[in-house]
């Protein structure tokens, strides 16, 4: 039969009037799309290899290039979309699982876009954040059940407060391991978090020696592969996070291919260079909440009870009862990662079909912990596809203490979400270990851009809070009266614990 390969998805348009044959595109593309033909003095672009990362477009000095999505020529129908047909064709050729990167891109309802915020009118004054102080400071960690204020001389806090993470804004950088992203990308995240006053997360790949100095602003992760976990590592971080699952691929482990395990990564992960870094799907020592409690306390022992220990799980159907178990197991914070959360590599079928959206998960977990009277025992950090400041503020109002962002941070560093992280050929120098590519990400520029993003979102959050007449993020936390649902079913509104638009207080 005729070899049936899926058609390509992008067309490169070159404006020949503008192309000066400088060949920057040809030199830069890691997918070898562009090539200079000296005989004809033209640059030939092979669109079939293009992944749509837009790096050539960005580097072209005369803006002669445009990367466009091409329309498939199939006779598509509602069920048999071009994507479905292409996937079958590709699998019929390869006989394997389809890999992909980043988060779920399927059009499940995005509840953030169906929730609207409140604002003050007449009966309560709004606040101008440019003229009056606004507080975004957030503390992550176990809060005491009650506090004792005593002393005859005046009020003095007598209760001992457990160790807390202090955030300048309720936004942290989510876990991305050194290995899945480049040294420079980790460096930028660490520095931006330190400068701004928030936290970044090592992911499961250990902490490179050079980044130990950012320890006070680092959350160190302990995952099923236990890469790079030592007592020193645990004590260097400000907090420890046990990773059980990831939103993009709940129930699935990780696999960093051997070619990405370079010398420094092998040192950081404590595995031989060039070998595959395999994270098992479960922690083989955790098969129950009781087992989890043992690990939590083992880590607390190892750090002399000085660091908050959290547990990260993917948002799945039973997320609320599992979270309750995690809090009862002794976690100081829980991280819930929704199905739109990103990844460096995951089977496409898992990424697009497993898990639940973070909006619902946030609401049900917060409600469950409140009902059980244990909400104060752990902070709730939510993750998975936070695209803008309004998503963040809505999550806080639904009951989250803080959010984790990763995809947005990558976009700030140049990423265009082409979903090819797993190829290791990231033209932007982020999801790659190729020395030709990693140096394209100047951590100084990336740090600046990440800090700008945090600053911009903080300003916007203050702006929206001011509109609601709220001057501290603490007053908004779990304040679902500030939210209303648009176009949602009764059941969805019930799950989110919010009223419909039009319903008054």
């Amino acid at each position: 039969m005729v070899k049936s390969t899926p058609p390509f998805g992008f067309a490169i348009k070159r404006d020949d009037e503008k192309c000066i044959r400088c060949q920057a595109c040809a030199r830069m593309c890691s997918n070898d799309v562009h090539a200079y033909d000296a005989e004809k003095d033209i640059i030939v672009s092979d669109s079939t290899k293009c992944v749509g990362c837009h790096f050539c477009e960005a580097i072209c000095p005369t803006s002669a290039l445009t990367v466009e999505r091409t329309q498939s020529q199939y006779r598509e129908n509602f069920n048999w979309t071009a994507e479905v047909i292409n996937d079958i064709k590709s699998q019929a050729g390869s006989g394997g699982v389809i890999l992909t990167g980043m988060g779920c891109d399927k059009p499940y309802t995005n509840y953030w876009d169906r929730i609207v915020l409140n604002a003050s009118q007449v009966t309560n004054p709004s606040i101008d954040p440019l003229r009056e102080p606004m507080e975004l400071k957030t503390f992550i960690g176990r809060k005491p059940d009650r506090i004792e204020m005593g002393s005859p001389e005046g009020p003095k806090l007598e209760t001992e407060i457990p160790h807390q993470l202090e955030l300048e804004a309720p936004i942290m950088f989510s876990a991305m391991s050194y290995g899945s992203i480049s040294y420079n990308a980790c460096f930028a995240l660490a520095r931006a978090a330190s400068d701004f006053g928030t936290f970044w997360n090592t992911g499961e790949g250990g902490l490179h020696r050079d980044f130990y100095r950012y320890g006070p602003r680092t959350i160190v992760q302990v995952a099923s592969g236990r890469f790079g976990v030592t007592r020193e590592y645990l004590n260097t971080g400000a907090a420890i996070e046990i990773k059980i699952g990831q939103g993009a691929k709940p129930g699935i482990g990780g696999h960093l291919p051997g070619e990405k395990v370079t010398e420094p990564i092998s040192e950081t992960r404590m595995i031989p260079a060039g070998t595959d870094a395999l994270s098992p799907a479960p922690h083989h020592d955790i098969y129950s909440i009781e087992d989890l409690r043992q690990l939590i306390y083992a880590l607390k022992e190892a750090t002399r009870y000085r660091k908050p220990v959290g547990v990260k799980i993917a948002a799945v159907h039973n997320v609320a009862p599992i979270s309750s178990g995690i809090v009862r197991a002794g976690a100081d914070f829980i991280v819930i990662d929704g199905m739109r959360g990103g990844t460096g590599a995951a089977p496409k079928v898992t990424r697009d079909n497993v898990g639940i959206p973070i909006e619902i998960a946030t609401a049900v977990v917060d409600s469950r912990l409140r009902e059980e009277g244990i909400r104060n025992q752990a902070s709730l950090v939510v993750a998975g596809g936070f695209r803008k400041s309004s998503d963040v503020i809505k999550a806080i109002a639904l009951g989250a203490d803080a959010v984790y962002v990763a995809t947005s941070a990558l976009v700030a560093m140049g990423c265009t979400i082409c979903q090819k992280c797993y190829t290791g050929k990231c033209n932007w120098g982020i999801a790659t270990q190729d020395p030709y590519l990693t140096k394209r990400l100047n951590p100084e520029i990336a740090t600046r851009r990440l800090k700008n993003l945090l600053r911009a979102w903080s300003l916007e959050i203050k702006e929206m809070m001011g509109g609601m007449g709220i001057n501290a993020i603490e007053s908004l936390r779990g304040n679902r009266e500030q939210l209303r649902g648009v176009g949602l079913s009764e059941m969805e509104l019930k799950m989110l614990g919010i009223k419909s638009v039009g319903e008054a207080w």
């Binding site: 000066i20 400088c22 920057a24 000095p61 030709y436 140096k439 100047n442 100084e444």
Partner: protein, 145 residues
């Protein structure tokens, strides 16, 4: 004086510095016009050196004890008292190429149009040299020495 510092670890070898340098020293100072309309084609005064994944852009270092000034037989090569840059007066240059022989960095070239040398002039009159301004990854920075 302010000099261009090379940060090779951020140079990705895109050679945009060469392109912008050439255009800055072209007649039209316009990217498309300079490359598509001018003859001879503009030549850059900066050069990207590459070996495997190491690359960096090098241009005249404007040395403190510039050997090219001593080697110049006509006095065309001199130090600009204001900026401290080593500049060549094209009206005096006779194209003997002695400076090219002497330059320890190999960053002086021969002009294409006239028989005079071509070298980095730190884009005198501009706020920032074209290569520094247009490096997409800030691999070239202008710094007070």
């Amino acid at each position: 004086m302010k000099k261009i510092r090379i940060r090779e670890k951020y140079c990705m070898g895109c050679r945009l510095c060469e392109i912008y340098c050439a255009v800055q020293h072209s007649k039209s100072k316009d990217l498309v016009k300079a490359y598509r309309g001018e003859y001879p084609k503009p030549v850059p005064r900066i050069l990207v050196e590459e070996k495997d994944y190491l690359s960096f852009a090098i241009q005249c270092r404007h040395c403190e004890d510039a050997p090219c000034i001593g080697a110049c037989i006509t006095g065309a090569m001199s130090r600009d008292p204001k900026s401290g840059a080593v500049l060549c007066d094209e009206n005096k240059c006779v194209g003997c190429w002695m400076c090219i022989m002497m330059c320890p960095f190999g960053v002086i070239g021969r002009g294409k149009e006239k028989k005079v040398i071509s070298k980095c002039d730190l884009c005198v009159g501009e706020k920032e040299p074209a290569c520094v301004k247009n490096c997409p990854n800030e691999a070239l920075v202008l710094e007070e020495e």
